[in-house]
């Protein structure tokens, strides 16, 4: 018995050891955000929300200034738009790839995987010129479009997977009942893959929310999103770590809440019973 308990503990020990650095980092992060007058650099002498003063004061660095709310709003707009574009395109393409026979279908599917393997950074210059030519450079919608394009390949596969789970007979029944293909899509398929829609949207949203390199390169310095704002503050001479920690905490709230939502949504993806032919 004792022997058994001993062996059972080993995985936990290893896992705990691996997780410890991250845990310490997160604890430090919270201590920083809510602590004031740090002793020895890490132990807070006093708790408070002074570090969160950007919530009601403008943020300044060098000669520039903005507010947290502007940057937060920009990020929200950017990520939502990007998520929306990913969702619409993936839901349409996923349906077509799941249900419509056309030439080059499997080639297209493999192409999506290959495209996904290409790192977004190496496309930056091309994207830069593309946006320049279509007049969307330095604008959030343009960058959102570019950012969405990076997530679409895998998103299409995700969406196809959701649609693949719907039996053919359901689609055929809808077509006999009088649906056009597009009607089948939005009257039958979309309601059935609702959790899948949420998953794809969150997917697109999260990657845009976390993005740094695209917004840094393709947006002018005057349009700040959270990622570039934090970077600017890091690039000043005196770094206020408490302030940065508080700002980062606010930055991570939306993705964190979405992650919780994502888990639920993914668990709810419908599973069909019944015999097919």
């Amino acid at each position: 018995m004792a022997y058994k308990r001993g062996t059972k503990a080993i995985p936990y020990l290893i896992l705990g050891f691996v997780a410890a650095p991250f845990l310490i980092m997160y604890v430090g992060f919270f201590l920083r955000a809510f602590g004031e007058k740090m002793v020895l650099g890490i132990i807070p002498a006093q708790w408070g929300i002074y570090n969160f003063r950007f919530l009601w004061q403008p943020i300044t660095w060098g000669l520039e200034q903005t507010t947290m709310w502007t940057a937060f709003g920009n990020t929200m707009f950017f990520a939502t738009l990007s998520g929306f574009i990913v969702t619409v395109i993936c839901m349409l393409a996923g349906y077509a790839l799941s249900r419509v026979e056309f030439r080059g279908r499997s080639f297209f599917l493999i192409l999506q995987l290959v495209l996904h393997a290409v790192p977004g950074q190496i496309l930056l210059i091309a994207v830069f010129f593309l946006l320049l030519y279509i007049g969307l450079l330095h604008r959030i919608p343009g960058v959102a479009l570019a950012r969405a394009a990076l997530e679409i390949p895998l998103g299409v596969w995700m969406a196809k997977g959701f649609f693949d789970g719907i039996p053919w007979d359901v689609e055929r029944a809808a077509m006999v009942d009088g649906c056009t293909r597009l009607q089948v899509w939005y009257k039958i398929f979309l309601p059935l893959v609702k959790p899948g829609i949420a998953a794809v949207f969150i997917w697109g949203f999260l990657f845009a929310w976390h993005d740094f390199i695209y917004v840094y390169t393709l947006l002018p310095g005057t349009i700040k999103v959270m990622a570039t704002l934090i970077q600017s503050l890091l690039a000043t001479e005196v770094i206020d770590y408490g302030y940065l920690a508080a700002l980062s905490l606010i930055y991570s709230i939306p993705p964190l809440s979405l992650f919780i939502f994502l888990q639920r949504a993914l668990l709810k993806v419908p599973i069909f019973g019944g015999k097919g032919t």
Binding site: P167, D169, V170, R172, A173, A174, M175, V176, D177, G178, C179, T180, Q183, I188, P191, L192, P270, F272, G274, K275, G276, T277
Partner: protein, 359 residues
């Protein structure tokens, strides 16, 4: 609506799922497509519905070619083997869905749905979701959904195969009655010959994509066109014995090592052109053999009382045949018995081609 399948073929690569099928279905007729699993029944149905384009041949509705018409414009109702109800809609919404697409007013939709629901006895479950009702109810809902737009043609793909045995017998009768009441042209796909026999006006037997025979149930039962149909229709199935057709002094006989059976005039008339001797397969149904006396000797193998009658298996030489005996029949295994075949009920098939020599 009249349906005519004109030399219809549907291939999937090398697989000839439907092969040169010609079949005419009258307005208001109930036709069953019968055959073993994988013989192309579903493919035929999906081609009629417009989901598959024929590889060759034509589908005609009321004498008009509809090959290019999409399913939604064919005015058909369909019930799928899996019922394929929309899981996210209530039963009522499922039933009225075809009318909602046609922009029929809410009031009219609900009146029609209520009428159908009471006809199919599902009034009490209209508010529920498909997952919350039983298989039998799901099937009625699927029927109601198929019927609500008053289609010209009703297609049923193995509609009873997911029900338990008792419910199947009930639904069999109900669907048949409903079809007669509504007078709607109906094509039923099934692998169950009892289902086809009991429900349909005419049965089309398919094997490996080819039409074997089409006709009313009694015709298929009494004059099967070939060995496949003979063996497929009827339970327990027809007995088959290899034999030789011979002619002696102007009379025809079938002879085996064990017995020699003279054929009656009614049979002789149909085979007088055949050169003799000729290798044949003799077919005789279990109910057309009687145990007691006769030229043919057999040995009891097993006796299975079924209540209404008794199923007896016995050896004639090395072959086993089945006989339906009266419920009072008693015998023990190994016992020697004498048999009579009702000569008028004997079927003869060409050994080479499997075709019946009597039709």
């Amino acid at each position: 609506m009249k349906v005519f399948l004109d030399r219809l073929s549907k291939y999937f690569g090398q697989v000839k799922a439907v092969d040169n099928l010609t079949l005419a279905i009258e307005d208001g007729e109930f036709v069953a497509l019968l055959g073993p699993s994988g013989c192309g029944k579903t493919t035929t149905l999906l081609t009629i519905a417009g989901f598959y384009k024929p590889t060759a041949g034509f589908v005609l509705f009321d004498d008009k070619v509809v090959n290019e018409l999409p399913p939604r414009e064919r005015n058909i109702g369909m019930v799928f083997q899996s019922y394929a109800l929309y899981p996210h809609m209530s039963v009522l919404d499922n039933i009225t869905f075809p009318l909602r697409l046609k922009k029929v007013s809410r009031k009219e939709r609900e009146t029609k749905a209520k009428a159908l629901a009471s006809l199919l006895r599902i009034e009490d479950i209209l508010e529920r979701k498909p997952a919350e009702i039983s298989g039998g109810q799901q099937q009625r809902v699927a029927l109601a959904r198929a019927l609500i737009k008053e289609p010209g043609l009703l297609l049923l793909d193995e509609p009873l195969s997911n029900l338990d045995a008792k419910l199947r017998v009930t639904m069999r009768a109900e669907i048949k009655r409903l079809q007669k009441d509504l007078g709607i042209t109906t094509i039923l796909v099934t692998h169950d010959q009892v289902e086809a026999m009991t429900m349909a006006d005419r049965i089309a037997v398919l094997e490996t994509g080819k039409l074997q025979q089409v006709g009313p149930p009694e015709e298929l039962y009494n004059s099967p066109a070939n060995l496949f149909v003979a063996g497929f229709i009827g339970t327990p199935p027809m007995n088959f014995l290899a034999a030789t057709l011979e002619k002696r002094e102007g009379k025809f006989f079938i002879t085996t090592e064990r017995f020699c059976l003279p054929l009656p005039d009614s049979v002789t008339m149909k085979i007088c052109q055949i050169p003799t001797p000729h290798d044949v397969i003799v077919g005789i149904r279990p109910e057309n053999i009687s145990i007691g006396q006769g030229e043919i000797r057999g040995e009891i193998y097993v006796v299975e009382p079924l209540g209404r009658d008794t199923l007896v298996s016995l050896h004639i030489g090395t072959e086993i045949i089945k006989v339906i005996a009266p419920p009072t029949f008693r015998a023990s295994p190994g016992e020697q018995v004498q048999l009579t075949f009702s000569e008028e009920k004997v079927h003869l098939f060409d050994k080479e081609t499997g075709k019946s020599l009597l039709v």
